[in-house]
Assembly symmetry: C2
């Protein structure tokens, strides 16, 4: 069991209609706000109008940055940071899913960075020190960005997608109203759910390191929550109970509630970031394709107990099965959940991806150290083999 | 499912040797510190010396307030607050269990209160506004005070024991090193474990209100954690895994991780506070005596499903039992856990308590409103009947 530090400064307003508290909260941070959002969905569901009303009530001067991309780009972050510097913005407000919140988080840091290019921060050439305060209004249960200090940004000039975690870069306040996710499509609900599960898998669950028993059990309950409610939300998009459980699960899966001080690469995330950097695919879908193949690839006598435990405690696998059979059945049930229950396509080739960049992507995934440290350590050759299993 | 606000500012250092970070953390808050502690146990285990070394390293001017009582008294809080005002204390440091942390929390508030008597704050005649910053070093897994804004203080002149929750009265930083609990006696380990479980029972688990499914499941995992590790810690006091799980469980049980916006009386706590106000008994032991009798008293067709679910999911009761049988078996197993596995005496008479004050205590437990709102609403007559069941 490792030592750890837990600190999460984000104040969360959870539930229907909590946006009513936005005016009071944002006015604590100043008078000039930059409103950041993605495509038009927040206008279609009426959220944009509700937010503007609150900003007017708070008598804020509002600047806007719309059009944040699904895999947000460093050029967009740079544009936002330049605007903050020029106009003397006091506080940022992200309204959207993880991409919008990630971009806003990076703008909050870049606006206080002396250089002109946020890519220095994203690639750890410079470190995040001071940040602008920011708030978020969440519209998609997936990334956990609404309650952590992490962000992932893409550079399409170099086909790179990297991120950082900065302890003080959490949103100051986040509004989590499950009704804002009623309009999320079945596909995005499925992909977001895979992303939530992958955070738990990648950060901690699949690990050879010793973890606190209580936290491991709770990881299992959050996984079971997603498995129970994602199909319900797909079946009935305005199922409040389902949307609420998924939304709070998304925050829990990456805000350090669930973890002690593990140190391992988030292996599937590292492999997936190359996929979406090269092909701009939906992150959670990439994770759903990679994860079961990765588990099959790393299955051996040492990893099997953890995989079988996942099967028994989360996927309903019979605990009396022999070790390797139990682990294989667990992986098969996870595949069934992603590709049948959630309806996600199971192959990279289904997304138009072939093997031509696999070798380069595998090397990039392993980065400078040449190896992904995790459940089992992976070299670029291992990563390439896993990509091929996904074709 | 209720709306809720989640905000927990406490930064936690968890694990062996984390005290090494105390100097850096406390020096952020100023130069004059008041060190608050209880009896001599922190000196016996060497913790006092380690703390003093850190305060010297941080070049703090240190004042001391020792001798905080197991049920901390308002007179002690007043003494501490007067010292803070006189000496211009910048920051408080509690070293001990929940009693010491509760007292320190109340001193932090009373030191910034215009009046002379903290009892005004404890009884809500005045509200907690500003507070001094404070840190804690925990030595007992029980109350959760190390990570919340609540405290309970006793007035022995009036036989009253009351408390408050103030959102900003959390410790700023808490140090949770499970090795500091190695010297906790079997009796205090058992009582503390009952207290942890009772927080979950009382705040949320036993309730007719609709709760978020994910949180209800996680409440069950934390309860199972206590049931698994309390006997191990009693059996082998220096079992790090057991002490670590109990310690983090104690913080989780009352820091709002586990709850959405329920509003109900913490019924057993209200009943127990009268017991320890009148008889100065160990709080967790009082709870262990009261809880199963309370469950038996409120058992009916409406409450049985929740009690049976507790039995099935937490206590290993056969889910095929009929509803009322399942619920009764759950209560029986909880009694066995408290009185056989943990070895706590099962009756108030074992603690020298008779029925002479029951009528007054029952009225006081129901306070101004004359009723305890909860799983089922309890009048003073109900409370008196429950006390009698405990004789």
């Amino acid at each position: 069991m490792q030592n750890f530090v837990f600190h999460n400064k984000t104040k969360v307003y959870f539930g229907k209609g909590q946006i009513e508290n936005l005016a009071d909260e944002i006015s604590r941070f100043g008078k000039k706000a930059l409103l950041v959002y993605g495509g038009g969905s927040i206008k279609r569901i009426g959220l944009y109008d509700d937010v503007i009303k609150q900003l007017e009530k708070a008598k804020m001067t509002v600047y806007e940055l719309g059009g944040v991309e699904p895999n947000p780009r460093h050029t967009t972050v740079n544009k936002g940071a330049a605007l903050c510097k020029k106009e003397g913005i006091d506080v940022l407000l992200a309204v959207g899913g993880g991409s919008t919140i990630d971009a806003t988080k990076a703008i909050a840091a870049a606006a206080k960075y002396d250089g002109d290019d946020c890519w220095d921060l994203i690639t750890h050439k410079a470190s995040v020190k001071e940040t602008l305060p920011f708030l978020s209004v969440l519209t998609l249960a997936a990334t956990g960005s609404e309650m952590d200090g992490g962000c992932v940004i893409s550079n399409i000039e170099t086909n790179e997608k990297f991120g950082y975690f900065a302890p003080d870069n959490n949103p100051d306040v986040s509004f989590l109203d499950p009704t804002y996710t009623y309009s999320v499509s079945a596909y995005q609900t499925a992909s977001g759910s895979a992303d939530i599960m992958s955070h738990i898998f990648d950060v901690a669950y699949f690990s050879m390191q010793d973890q606190m028993d209580m936290l491991k059990r709770i990881q299992e309950e959050v996984l079971k929550t997603v498995i129970k409610y994602a199909p319900k939300a797909i079946e009935k998009p305005d199922d409040y109970e389902a949307r609420a459980n998924l939304m709070w699960a998304s925050s829990w899966a990456l805000n350090d509630f669930l973890y002690d001080g593990l140190s391992q690469s988030t292996v599937c995330h590292a492999m997936e970031h190359e996929l979406s950097a090269f092909y701009d695919i939906t992150h959670g879908h990439g994770l759903a394709i990679l994860t079961p193949r990765w588990l099959s690839y790393v299955l051996n006598e040492q990893t099997a107990p953890c995989i079988k435990r996942f099967g028994v405690n989360v996927m309903g696998v019979d605990e009396n099965l022999p070790l390797m059979d139990g682990a294989k059945t667990a992986i098969k049930k996870l595949e069934e959940f992603f590709y049948e229950t959630l309806g996600l396509k199971s192959k990279l080739s289904d997304l138009g991806i072939d093997d031509k960049n696999f070798s380069v992507m595998a090397k990039k995934a392993c980065r400078a150290k040449g190896v992904l440290k995790g459940f089992t350590d992976l070299t670029p050759l291992d990563v390439e083999a896993i990509y091929r299993m996904c074709l």
